[in-house]
Symmetry: C2
Amino acid sequence: MIEQVAYRVGEIKPFYAMALLARAKELEAQGRRIIHMEIGEPDFVTPQPIIEAGIAALRSGQVYYTPSSGLPALREAIANWYSMSAGIQISPDRIIVTPGASGASLLAMAALLNPRDTILMADPGYPCNRYLARILEGNPVGIPMTAKNAYQFTADHIESYWSSITKAVLVASPANPTGAILCQATLDALINSVESRGGALVVDETYGGLVYESESITALTLSDQVFVINSFSKYFGMTGWRLGWLVVPDNFIQVADKLAQNLFLAASTPAQYAALAAFRPETIQILEERRMAFQQRRDFLLSKLQVLGFYVPAIPQGAFYIYADCSKFSVNSMAFSQNLLENVGVAVTPGLDFGCNDPHRYIRFAYTTSMERLQEGIERLQTYLS
Amino acid sequence: MIEQVAYRVGEIKPFYAMALLARAKELEAQGRRIIHMEIGEPDFVTPQPIIEAGIAALRSGQVYYTPSSGLPALREAIANWYSMSAGIQISPDRIIVTPGASGASLLAMAALLNPRDTILMADPGYPCNRYLARILEGNPVGIPMTAKNAYQFTADHIESYWSSITKAVLVASPANPTGAILCQATLDALINSVESRGGALVVDETYGGLVYESESITALTLSDQVFVINSFSKYFGMTGWRLGWLVVPDNFIQVADKLAQNLFLAASTPAQYAALAAFRPETIQILEERRMAFQQRRDFLLSKLQVLGFYVPAIPQGAFYIYADCSKFSVNSMAFSQNLLENVGVAVTPGLDFGCNDPHRYIRFAYTTSMERLQEGIERLQTYLS
Ligand SMILES: Cc1ncc(COP(=O)(O)O)c(C=O)c1O
Ligand SMILES: Cc1ncc(COP(=O)(O)O)c(C=O)c1O
């Protein structure tokens, strides 16, 4: 029997959210009605124009490999979208189409990290980015974010944590799980700080577009040296299609293409043809309506959670998450999550999934379910917690 | 400007086939008619039942993330297929659905290789497997295959090349570019050799099913400790859908699931639903007809190439490639490939793409185009070479 699992695997923790989801499904199979607030995926189905474009692609036999960096028409469509939505000109050559933001992140890290190079990241943060760095033998270093700073990653963090073996900084805006966004001034300072140190800044904009208060800003407006990860999963409602993209600086175009060839061969062809419809006005209109719906859900859930006694130090400005301090109810957010599920059928994600920055104090609520269900969830919590 | 590309990238050579393909497209844009024998992808479109299942999935909104290891129904369908086609019982839990064989290979190597661990592979061989090992900081070691052995990877190779830092052996059957297959006795000896050394055997069965002379045999019939890579790309005609799978030993199930979560999140959902139709009798019938067509093409192309003066030491028994010695015509197969393209519009892949085992002597012909075109290609070669 082969026992020699690679060391990297031992350092990857399975996600508690998965175990909770499995338990939630068990309870559902027993007839319990569960309110799902743990799921990091929009409940809205892919917009109809995208579905129709996907079907048309299949009907016309668009099922062969595309070039590794993506369908030229899609790379151009993404470039046009940057031009329309952000007023910036990005050469389609700099856009590499990938299997989800997951693929984009893997690609960026493979391009940048040598063994033991450190890459700075927010804690709490999206766990896969941390583990992808580790899988590539890089060394992800979590930096504790603080509520007083609205969980924003700032140039001060870089100042404090940069070392001689630091190669890159990964920030997310909007961020998972906090919903924090980086304003232009913060982004600018980050860019300057990283560039002056000769490092690379990777900005995960997977939730770009899902911003409620302010304008969504891409780091590409401020620098052509940043690596920007994006996805069709969240704003565009295409999670299961597995499509995203990476924008690279000019001198990484060949690098990214070579890596994409080997890592993926190419992204899904039907998905790429379908995504050509993602930027059409009728699709954007659907997506903007959904964005309003998310905003309404956020406003509702946030205010109700606060009334219940959860502490949310900064208003989450984007994505579809609320990272809430539950220490009024429990000193162990993992046990608390289990209790909520068992006792009132409300599923949430414990802080432990996002790092080791005081995780026992926090749980993440996702508002990826309808207002009615959110309402029902709040009522159940009210009964249980009062 | 960021100059620090990770070292791994410098060790990945771009594929010459890509440059040749780009040049072929240029010539086509100028009105030249090119005979493509460089393409590693079936010319047949995805079978209609699979396309219809994909369309039905899209129509019914199957566009959300699946579990990381794949749709349970698809894992079961693959297990059933092993039972039907090979008479073996594989637990669906051991089957991880991936984005193509590319994803399966990445997953297997991430599970096994620590930095500097060597993994033995055939040279010539599929280049991405070599580079994936390198991307993960493993150390791929190419073993020269010899024609007198019909390019088969054997236990003798392991005997000669195994060292204290060898962790795994990757073999392909049928192999790209040679079309060699491993017979049961050879596979058995490989399994024993690797297991007795405490290593892991990874068998790339991406071209499984595309076998012409003998029965296609999976290594899973011989051991439950091997890692088997497979794909919906080639035999099932689903290249652009990006779907494959990895079968792991029992004690790697959790490992593979954790890695899949981080590397991919999950494989494409519409593709997984579509693939449920891949094992239906009406689909298998289509695929078997195609297999006959490939065999007919192989027989034709092989005999004509031999008459022309190409030396093909062993009859390629599977996949859709002929790896031919062109030293009668040129001592530089790269220049020869370019000449063929420029002068007679025939595109082939130079040996250099597959390793450093006397590559200047060889070119690869792919019979992924119609009999008429193969015929035309042969006529052009005849005119040019005589
Ligand atoms: C911050 C962040 N980045 C990347 C991803 C990966 O998403 P995908 O691969 O579906 O694009 C996620 C998914 O939840 C995420 O939260
Ligand atoms: C030997 C071999 N393995 C794996 C692959 C990857 O194929 P895919 O990712 O499309 O399944 C290929 C593709 O040509 C191949 O030749």
